[in-house]
C-alpha cells in the first residue's frame, strides 16, 4: 500500500498545505502579512477613496480600524479572561448533577 510509505496518518492531499509547516513559514508569513497590510493601506494615498462616512475617507482608515480592533480585542482579552475564567468543571462537568 502506498500509505505505508508516507508518514503515518498523512493524507495524500496534505501536500497542499505542507508549506505551512516549513521552518521559515512563520517568519516569512509575518513579513508578508505586514508588508501586504502596509501596501494596501498605502494604496489610499495613491488613489483616494470616497466613502459615505466622512472620516472613513481618510487614507489608511480601514487599516487602522482593523489594526485597532484586533489589537484591542486581543489585549482586552487578557484581563477579561483573568476575571471570568473558572476551572473546566465549574458547572459540574459530565459527572456532576446540577
Amino acid at each position: 500500500m502506498s500509505g505505508r510509505r508516507r508518514e503515518a496518518g498523512t493524507h495524500p492531499l496534505a501536500a497542499l498545505w505542507a508549506w505551512t509547516a516549513a521552518p521559515a513559514a512563520r517568519a516569512v508569513g509575518l513579513i508578508v502579512l505586514v508588508v501586504a497590510a502596509l501596501a494596501l493601506a498605502g494604496a489610499d494615498w495613491l488613489r483616494p477613496r470616497e466613502d459615505y462616512v466622512g472620516f472613513a475617507a481618510a487614507p489608511g482608515f480601514y487599516a487602522l480600524l482593523g489594526l485597532g480592533a484586533a489589537v484591542i480585542a486581543m489585549l482586552a482579552a487578557w484581563p477579561l479572561r483573568r476575571s471570568l475564567e473558572r476551572r473546566e468543571d465549574y458547572y459540574g462537568g459530565d459527572d456532576g448533577d446540577e
Binding site: 493524507h11 502579512l33 494604496a43 480600524l65 482593523g66 489594526l67
Partner: protein
C-alpha cells in the same frame, strides 16, 4: 392535482420525510428519504407560479395560512431548503435514525414557520423547531449535553408560549392573526418581540445557543446553526423592521460576543459566539429598516446560513474525526484532513468577507445602509465587530484546528482520518456556494425582498475591505509572535448563564430548602397545636373525659334543673 400540490407548504415533504426516516430502519432507504425530502420541497418551491397565500385551512375558529409565498418568505424558504439538503448530505454517513428524523422535522418546521402566513401557524412551527431540535443536543448522550438540552428546551418553549400570548393579544387588538408588520405600538408587540428575541439570541437571552451548540452532536450543531436563529431574524424582519431599539440591541449583540469568541477554547463555542455577533449586525440592520438594510440583513442571513453552516460542518468533522474541538488540544490537522482544512478556509474567507465570497456581498449591503443613513457611530461599531470577526473566527478557527503546531498531550494527528465522503461533499457544496454567490452576487440580490441596486465590487469597497483583513491578519501575526495573543486553554468562561446556572440555581435550592424548613417547622407547630387540641377534645369528649364520666345521678339533676331554668327564662322573656 398539480394545484393541490402547489397549495401545500414545502414544509410538508420535509417533515414527512423526517417521520418516515424515524420509521425506516434500513440505512440506505433512510438516507434516500433524507435527501429526497428537501429535494421535493425545492421542487415545490420552484413550482409556485406566483406569490400568494396558499394552503389556507379553517380549524377550530382559526384561519391557518400555511403557505404564504412572498418576496421575504421565498428567500428564507429557499435557503432553508438548501440548508436542509446540505445537512442531509452532511449526515449521509450518520447511523442515528433519531438524528436523521429530528434534523428533517426541525428543518421542515423552520421552512413551515417561514411560510406561515399567520401567527398561529407560525407558533405551531416555532414550537416544533424547539421540540425537534432538542434531540440533536441530547443525542450527544452526555449528562452535560442532557442538561444543556433541557435548558435549551425550556427557554425555547418559553419563546413559543410568549409568542402565543403576544399573538393572542395582538390578534385581539388587530382583529386578525395575520403575521405582518407588528411593531412595538401594537399591544402584544413587546411580548412577541421578547419571543423573537429569545430565538434570535439577543444578549442576556443568548446562552441557550452558546451553551448548547457546543454540546450538540457534530451533525446536530450543523443543523442547529442553520435554522433557529435565522428563523428569528426572518420573523424580526417581518414583524419589527425599523424599530429603533433593535439598532442598539444589535450593536451590543455584535460587539459583546467578540471577547467570548476569542477566548473560548471550544471552537464550536467560538462559532456560536461568532454567530451571535453576526446576528447582531442583522438585528441592527433590521432595526434600521428601509429597503437596503432589510435587504442587507436578508443577504447576511443567507450568507450566514452558508458559511456558518460550512464552519460548523468542518468543526463537526474535526470533532467526529479527532474526538474534540478544543483549541487547546488541536493543531496540525492539515496533515490528516487537508480537504476539510481547505473548506474551512473557504468558510473563513466568507466570514472575513473577503471579496468574491458570499460574506462580502452580504455584509457590504447591510453596513453600507448604515453609512448611507449617516449613522456613523453605529456603522463604526459594526465595522469594528466585523473586523474582530476576522480575528476570532476567520483566523482562529482554521489556525487553531489545522495550522497551529500540534499540542503536547493533544490530539495525535497521525491517528486522525479525513472526514467521510458525505461530509466532504456537503462541505464542498457549501464552500462552492459561498464562493459562487460571492462572484455571481446578482443571483443572491435578485432573491432579496427588495431589489438592490448596489455594486459591492467598487474599488473603494474592495480596497477598504482588503485593508481591514490584511491589518487584522498582520496584527494577529505580530501579536502572536510577541506572545500577546491569548493562547487557548481549557476553562469555563463565565457568561450570563452564570446567573441561572449558579446564582439562580443556588437561590432556587436555597429557597426550596428554606420552604422545606418552613413547612417542617409549621408542620411542627400545627402538629403541636393539633395535638393539644386533640388532647383537649379527648379530655372533654372521650370515654374517660369530662362529658362521659359517670356523673352521679344527683349531679345530673342539676343539669335538668338548669335546663328547666333555661326554658323558663326563654319563656319569660318571650312573653
Amino acid at each position: 392535482m398539480n394545484e393541490m400540490i402547489a397549495h401545500l407548504t414545502p414544509a410538508l415533504p420535509v417533515i414527512l420525510a423526517g417521520l418516515l426516516a424515524a420509521a425506516t430502519p434500513w440505512y440506505g432507504l433512510r438516507k434516500a428519504i433524507t435527501l429526497a425530502g428537501p429535494l421535493l420541497a425545492a421542487a415545490m418551491w420552484f413550482a409556485v407560479a406566483a406569490p400568494g397565500t396558499y394552503g389556507v385551512i379553517e380549524v377550530a375558529g382559526h384561519t391557518l395560512e400555511t403557505f404564504r409565498f412572498d418576496a421575504t418568505s421565498r428567500l428564507w424558504g429557499l435557503v432553508f431548503i438548501i440548508a436542509a439538503f446540505l445537512n442531509a448530505l452532511y449526515g449521509l454517513h450518520g447511523r442515528s435514525r433519531l438524528q436523521d428524523a429530528a434534523a428533517l422535522i426541525y428543518a421542515g418546521a423552520g421552512v413551515g414557520a417561514v411560510f406561515a402566513g399567520d401567527l398561529l401557524t407560525l407558533f405551531f412551527f416555532w414550537e416544533l423547531t424547539a421540540l425537534a431540535s432538542v434531540f440533536l443536543i441530547w443525542a450527544s448522550a452526555t449528562p452535560s449535553a442532557y442538561r444543556a438540552g433541557l435548558r435549551y428546551l425550556v427557554i425555547q418553549v418559553l419563546s413559543g408560549v410568549l409568542l402565543l400570548t403576544g399573538a393572542v393579544i395582538h390578534a385581539d387588538a388587530a382583529g386578525s392573526w395575520r403575521f405582518d408588520a407588528i411593531g412595538l405600538d401594537s399591544p402584544g408587540g413587546a411580548v412577541i418581540l421578547i419571543a423573537f428575541a429569545i430565538k434570535a439570541a439577543f444578549p442576556l437571552v443568548h446562552n441557550w445557543m452558546t451553551e448548547s451548540y457546543p454540546k450538540a452532536t457534530p451533525f446536530g450543531a450543523v443543523v442547529l446553526s442553520a435554522f433557529t436563529t435565522k428563523l428569528a431574524i426572518y420573523a424580526l424582519a417581518r414583524g419589527f423592521a425599523g424599530e429603533d431599539i433593535l439598532i442598539q440591541i444589535g450593536v451590543v449583540m455584535a460587539l459583546f460576543p467578540v471577547f467570548f469568541a476569542l477566548v473560548a477554547d471550544d471552537l464550536r463555542k467560538t462559532l456560536a459566539y461568532s454567530l451571535m455577533s453576526q446576528l447582531g449586525v442583522m438585528v441592527a440592520a433590521i432595526g434600521l429598516g428601509g429597503q437596503m438594510a432589510i435587504g442587507g440583513a436578508a443577504a447576511m442571513a443567507v450568507a450566514s446560513v452558508l458559511y456558518k453552516g460550512l464552519l460548523f460542518m468542518t468543526m463537526g468533522a474535526v470533532l467526529a474525526q479527532a474526538g474534540t474541538v478544543q483549541a487547546s488540544r488541536l493543531g496540525g490537522l492539515w496533515r490528516a484532513m487537508p480537504l476539510t482544512a481547505l473548506f474551512t478556509l473557504a468558510g473563513s474567507a466568507a466570514i472575513m468577507a473577503v471579496p468574491l465570497t458570499v460574506g462580502f456581498a452580504g455584509k457590504a449591503l447591510a453596513l453600507t445602509a448604515f453609512a448611507r443613513e449617516g449613522m456613523d457611530l453605529v456603522w463604526l461599531a459594526l465595522m469594528a465587530a466585523s473586523a474582530a470577526a476576522v480575528l476570532h473566527t476567520g483566523i482562529k478557527i482554521p489556525y487553531m484546528a489545522f495550522f497551529a503546531p500540534p499540542r503536547e498531550g493533544g490530539v495525535d494527528v497521525s491517528k486522525v482520518k479525513e472526514a467521510p465522503a458525505g461530509m466532504l461533499m456537503a462541505m464542498g457544496l457549501a464552500a462552492f456556494l459561498c464562493v459562487y454567490l460571492g462572484i455571481n452576487y446578482g443571483a443572491l440580490y435578485d432573491l432579496l425582498p427588495y431589489r438592490a441596486t448596489y455594486d459591492p465590487f467598487s474599488y473603494g469597497h474592495v480596497i477598504s475591505q482588503l485593508q481591514v483583513i490584511a491589518a487584522v491578519l498582520a496584527a494577529f501575526a505580530l501579536l502572536a509572535r510577541l506572545g500577546l495573543y491569548p493562547r487557548p486553554r481549557p476553562g469555563e468562561i463565565l457568561d450570563v448563564d452564570w446567573l441561572y446556572r449558579r446564582l439562580g440555581y443556588g437561590v432556587a435550592r436555597w429557597g426550596w430548602l428554606m420552604t422545606d424548613r418552613l413547612w417542617a417547622s409549621m408542620d411542627n407547630v400545627v402538629m403541636r397545636l393539633g395535638k393539644r387540641a386533640a388532647a383537649r377534645l379527648h379530655e372533654t369528649f372521650s370515654p374517660i373525659g369530662t362529658l362521659s364520666r359517670d356523673i352521679p345521678s344527683g349531679a345530673l339533676t342539676i343539669w335538668t334543673g338548669a335546663l328547666l331554668a333555661l326554658v323558663l327564662i326563654v319563656a319569660y322573656f318571650a312573653s
